[in-house]
């Protein structure tokens, strides 16, 4: 049995932790939260200089050609630090979409830029309230011109290009959905920031008005491509989530040890101890499921859909629980702007809604288990 990171990978984790402790304290996260800046540009530059954006991009395209285990470690540490950068959009989603479905020319053009950080990609899929379906898509493509509105798009105001899901006008419903690659530096593209529950990460509304688009992948197979991208991104999102959940646990623990009530630390009360134990248990289960997801992603295993959904569901649950109970452990102080409890609370729900909610992934999990049994 070898179900653990290697020694070199653990060294990478140590290095990442040290780097983020120095370069991404919560004061920096709060600075982005309290300003109009879409991210911390300095931190983003340093992350690029560390080579993290190049992690899984093959060397032929200017990347490092490392495995998804290395990327999992980076994701967990970025999540732990609540880093206010467009990493998830550009790396887990845009890079993965190109690796999965990009033509040789598209890969040649974009992957070296993504690796070197000279381009940022984003994932423009959501359109309106409620769960997206092939039938509900209203963004359309005629010829190679795309028209419609995507909201919210994580990092949409920063990005240079977007992966967009749209339907060909020649098809009325359901089928005819394809993924497109759209350069966002066109005059027909308008973008504006949208306020969210987590202003430490930026989100935008993007309007396309007959903008130029290129097909990404096979025409008409956009919906199934979306599922494949989501499965891969879900593992990496889940790692960010367990990293964040651990941050919430540590904040709660530290506060409970130091806060006295009725003459003793509140950490001596079972109501608090059991709360923190429940957080620890949920985090531990979620982290072990993330190992499973990382293994499936790094080996391209057939059970990736099961593993990804398992990691994603437990990570959503763990992070939300840890973040809300961290505030509760802090009492009134946890509800103040001054305290940092708000940061994981905001981020947990943002990451939970970004690529499909808990309910959506529960459904995907059972469907994937049914499919595995049929196989």
């Amino acid at each position: 049995m070898n179900f653990e990171f290697s020694e070199e990978q653990n060294l990478l984790r140590e290095q990442a932790q040290g780097f983020l402790a120095d370069n991404c304290p919560t004061t920096l996260v709060r600075r982005v939260l309290e300003s109009d800046a879409p991210c911390d540009a300095e931190l983003w530059k340093k992350i690029i200089a560390m080579g993290w954006t190049a992690t899984t991009i093959p060397e032929d395209y200017g990347g490092l050609g490392l495995s998804y285990l290395e990327l999992s470690i980076i994701a967990e540490e970025l999540g732990r630090a609540l880093a206010p950068v467009p990493f998830s959009s550009s790396v887990y989603l845009a890079t993965e979409a190109l690796l999965l479905a990009g033509s040789e020319a598209q890969k040649q053009h974009w992957l070296p830029k993504l690796a070197s950080g000279t381009a940022i990609g984003c994932y423009a899929v959501a359109e309106s309230a409620g769960r997206l379906s092939p039938n509900s898509l209203s963004t359309t493509v005629s010829g190679m011109n795309i028209t419609g509105e995507k909201i919210p798009v994580a990092d949409g105001d920063l990005a240079d290009f977007a992966i967009v899901l749209a339907r060909a006008t020649s098809h009325a419903t359901g089928d005819g959905v394809s993924a497109y690659l759209v350069d966002l530096h066109q005059s027909s593209v308008t973008r504006e920031g949208v306020p969210t529950i987590d202003p430490s990460r930026s989100h935008a509304r993007i309007q396309f008005d007959e903008s130029d688009a290129e097909l990404l992948g096979v025409p008409g197979e956009g919906w199934s491509l979306l599922q494949k991208i989501a499965d891969r991104a879900a593992v990496l999102f889940a790692w960010e989530q367990v990293g964040g959940a651990d941050t919430a646990l540590n904040m709660a623990k530290e506060y409970a040890m130091g806060r006295f009530a009725f003459g003793r630390p509140i950490a001596t009360y079972q109501a608090i101890k059991h709360k923190l134990t429940t957080i620890y248990v949920k985090n531990t289960l979620a982290r072990s499921n993330c190992y499973y997801g990382a293994w499936a992603l790094s080996t391209n295993a057939d059970e990736l859909p099961v593993a990804a959904a398992t990691a994603r569901v437990s990570a959503i649950q763990a992070y939300y629980f840890a973040a809300k109970e961290n505030i509760q452990t802090h009492g009134g102080m946890g509800f103040t702007w001054e305290f940092d409890c708000q940061l994981p609370y905001r981020r947990s729900k943002l990451l939970a809604t970004n690529i499909g909610s808990e309910a959506l992934w529960q459904e995907k999990l059972i469907t994937a288990i049914e499919n595995r049994q049929l196989a």
Binding site: F3, M257, T268, Q270, K273, T284, L285, S288, W295, Q317
Partner: protein, 403 residues
């Protein structure tokens, strides 16, 4: 990252598999035996072939095997349909305590017979008034020459009626604070003055007993650790209890729930098509998966010759309530017929009803959910202990419910 054995582990696993395939007892061999006889027959077979208690030192009847070899053996044996469930406490909890605290001579006398299954051991800690607060136990031992004389009552003793020996903690000095007045012994269960009464459980079974002691003599030579050191010795046993109790199994899991939901209908459709059913199943799946892969991480540590982290302490705390919730939901899925508990009439011979009635005990045995949560909070998260109002007070001055 992979799930493969190292070449050495693979060789060991193959050897274990081959031996098991060739040596599992046939139904003819087991035909005329009760479950204790069956368990003894299987244990002896393993012992004679060098597959019993393999992690123990050779001098004590084991094979000096590594921790990972023990895990591999356990996995392979668990895959087989074989007699089970009589030696767990003796081999898993009493033996490690003996190894740590008994004399060499005692270990030579008792451990090989425990390994071979010739003798069965039980553990007597809990009392009617001391469960979670174990150190509040009241069964007295008074020194009399080279013996101690025991009076009192133990409870929740698994297998007391078929055990040859047992370990127990007794109060030898009520005038000092509670942890300091305890002493640990092992005792012959056939000693005059021991009376065993099975306890009938809400599930209808009787897996536990009350054990009454009336002027029972035990030799001072059977004391483990110093007089007054019983708490420390008991911790050796309890540490091993946590390692051996696990999630308690319980006979139902995600797969049985999934199959049930595929079989019964909601509004003329298989229940598995219902969104709320699917969401519940998903939650149990991720819990089970989380426990499984947490176990794999511990196994990896063992395989690398490291000590596993504290992660495994969560297995009973997660597994037991999950079992209860699944059983409860299974009965709901069956609607009115969920109430029927009959081997002929119930779905799957009453498996779900049995789990419903057994699961409350699993949440309590070997440390309640609440005690397990305290242990994780204190030992894993490093949170401070609760304030104890009986701290430092002589045991005989601590208030009790009706005094």
């Amino acid at each position: 990252m992979d799930f493969n054995d190292t070449p050495e582990e693979a060789r060991f696993r193959k050897k274990a598999k081959q031996w098991l395939a060739a040596n599992l007892p046939s139904s003819d061999e087991l035909a005329d035996l009760d479950y204790i006889g069956r368990a003894k027959l299987w244990q002896k077979k393993k012992y004679d072939a060098g597959w019993a208690c393999i992690r123990w030192p050779k001098a004590h009847g084991g094979q000096d095997a590594s921790a990972i070899e023990q895990v591999i053996w356990n996995q392979e044996e668990a895959r087989c349909d074989r007699p089970d469930g009589v030696f767990g406490i003796g081999q898993g909890m009493c033996a490690p305590t003996m190894m740590a605290w008994a004399t060499d001579e005692q270990n030579k006398r008792y451990l090989p017979k425990l390994a071979s299954g010739e003798e069965i051991w039980c553990q007597m800690f809990s009392e009617p008034a001391s469960g979670s607060d174990l150190a509040a136990l009241r069964t007295r031992a008074v020194k009399d020459g080279d013996d101690w004389i025991i009076n009192g009552q133990k409870i929740w003793t698994s297998g007391a009626h078929f055990s040859d020996y047992g370990v127990l903690v007794l109060r030898t000095d009520p005038r000092v604070p509670k942890h300091q007045g305890l002493t640990y012994f092992f005792i012959d269960m056939k000693s005059p003055g021991i009376e065993i009464k099975p306890i009938r459980q809400i599930s209808g079974g009787a897996n536990f007993s009350e054990v009454y002691f009336t002027d029972v003599r035990v030799a001072d030579a059977q004391r483990l650790g110093a007089v007054g050191q019983g708490w420390k010795v008991a911790l050796t046993t309890l540490m091993n209890e946590r390692a051996s109790i696990g999630d308690g199994g319980g006979g139902i899991n995600f797969n049985t729930m999934f199959n049930l939901a595929s079989k019964v209908n909601i509004d003329d459709q298989p229940a598995i098509n219902d969104r709320s059913v699917r969401a519940k199943l998903a939650n149990w799946y991720v819990q089970e998966s989380g426990l499984k892969f947490t176990g794999y991480r511990s196994m990896t540590a063992l395989s690398r010759g490291e000590l596993p982290g504290p992660e495994n302490s969560i297995s009973k705390l997660v597994g037991a309530p999950k079992l209860q919730d699944m059983a409860s939901f299974a009965l709901d899925l069956l609607e009115a017929s969920g109430a029927i508990w009959d081997p002929e009439l119930s779905e799957d011979a009453g498996r779900f009803q049995a789990a419903y009635m057994n699961s409350p005990g699993i949440r309590i045995a070997g440390g309640t959910d609440e005690i397990m949560a305290n242990i994780i909070a204190e030992r894993v998260l490093g949170l401070p202990q609760d304030i104890r109002v009986d701290k430092g007070i002589p045991f005989n001055e601590i208030p009790t419910a009706n005094s």
